[in-house]
Symmetry: C2
DNA sequence: CTTATAAAAGGACAATTGTCCCAACTAAAA
DNA sequence: TTTTAGTTGGGACAATTGTCCTTTTATAAG
């Protein structure tokens, strides 16, 4: 549910020392929006600490949460490769510390630091490998089965996240979430 | 619906000439299974021509189709980065020609050919950027809206694919697909 | 030509999930 | 303190989707 990548963060911390002018440490408070959908950015972020949610908003105002991102997760990097606009919103759901790096410097690291290059490949591959089974399971199983699965990996998920966020993560309505949680007691 | 990556294929064709011992051209007939879920492989593939489906099977025998893959799409590459078992099945749904390359030679190209490296990055990023909105839309909208959307990008999708495949792509039952197609006439 | 087997289509009913409400509670703002 | 907005919880009903079954047609195999 909360994605992390400690190996990547560890290497970023090394790079921060090595390239003092590449990274800027920023801090955001709960509920602050860090990236907006359909905008053009020139930097991307790596999470040092805290949790964000990555979600897509549609024209009807519905949000769908892709991932909760924790330490070592990067976001905004896809736009470096695609050249397109950002396709999701990123919002802090706790106090968050981030390393910010420009597309330019990121590209330079990719080209000149093979360790970094490999770690980024891994992080992209991991995002795909995570999304595929999740999509499959969410689509094929009932709400009840999905919640049972959530509970197994995050026994107290309903304490960390708001009900609305959990519903948006599962792609269901708040009403359905409540009903199912009731049936499970 | 059918993912393609002509740029990648074009460069692969160049590499095929350059590294004569790296790539093996293989051919598969409709319905042949090329990769199986949860197995350990030492090679991966790039599609030269034809279409495959990439799907996850669950313990109840349900299949969920992740993507239909056309020319220039690679599969089996995630295992190079993760070191894990394959997590989906790949099956030909037309006659298919593939370039097969070992993990070892693939890694060597990644390390020594920066053009190739960049193209692989792009292909990984594109997979993520495709999956995210699809998951979001499928989860948040009705079957009817999903089928209308399909029809827009693939007006004759019901001629190319079997009804069962379309249902498995949308994560719905065959019955629901038929019913909705009827209502739409 | 027969016989399996798979694909397509849809009826009838049950289960799941969403929509539209209203009410209680909390926390922050005036 | 009062007010406002956000979060939680759930009743009642409607709409959507799935399950189970049967029939027909097409396709491949013997």
């Amino acid at each position: 549910m909360i994605r992390i990548n400690p190996n990547f963060l560890a290497y970023i911390e090394i790079l921060v020392q090595k390239h003092l002018d590449y990274f800027i440490l920023e801090e955001y408070a709960t509920r602050e929006v860090i990236l907006k959908q359909n905008k053009h950015y020139h930097s991307l972020y790596i999470i040092k600490s805290g949790i964000t949610k990555c979600y897509l908003s549609d024209e009807n105002g519905k949000d769908f949460i892709q991932e909760f991102l924790g330490e070592g997760m990067e976001f905004g990097e896809l736009e470096v490769f695609s050249g397109n606009l950002s396709f999701c919103n990123i919002e802090a759901i706790s106090n968050v510390k981030l390393y910010k790096i420009s597309h330019k410097n990121y590209t330079s690291l990719l080209e000149n630091d093979s360790v970094f290059n490999k770690l980024v490949m891994k992080s992209l591959a991991a995002k795909i490998a995570y999304k595929a089974p999740r999509h499959s399971f969410q689509q094929s199983y009932s709400i009840e089965e999905n919640i049972i699965k959530l509970k197994k990996s995050y026994p107290n998920f309903d304490k960390i996240f708001s009900k609305k966020d959990i519903a948006n993560y599962l792609g269901i309505t708040l009403r359905s979430l409540n009903r199912t949680l009731n049936n499970l007691n």
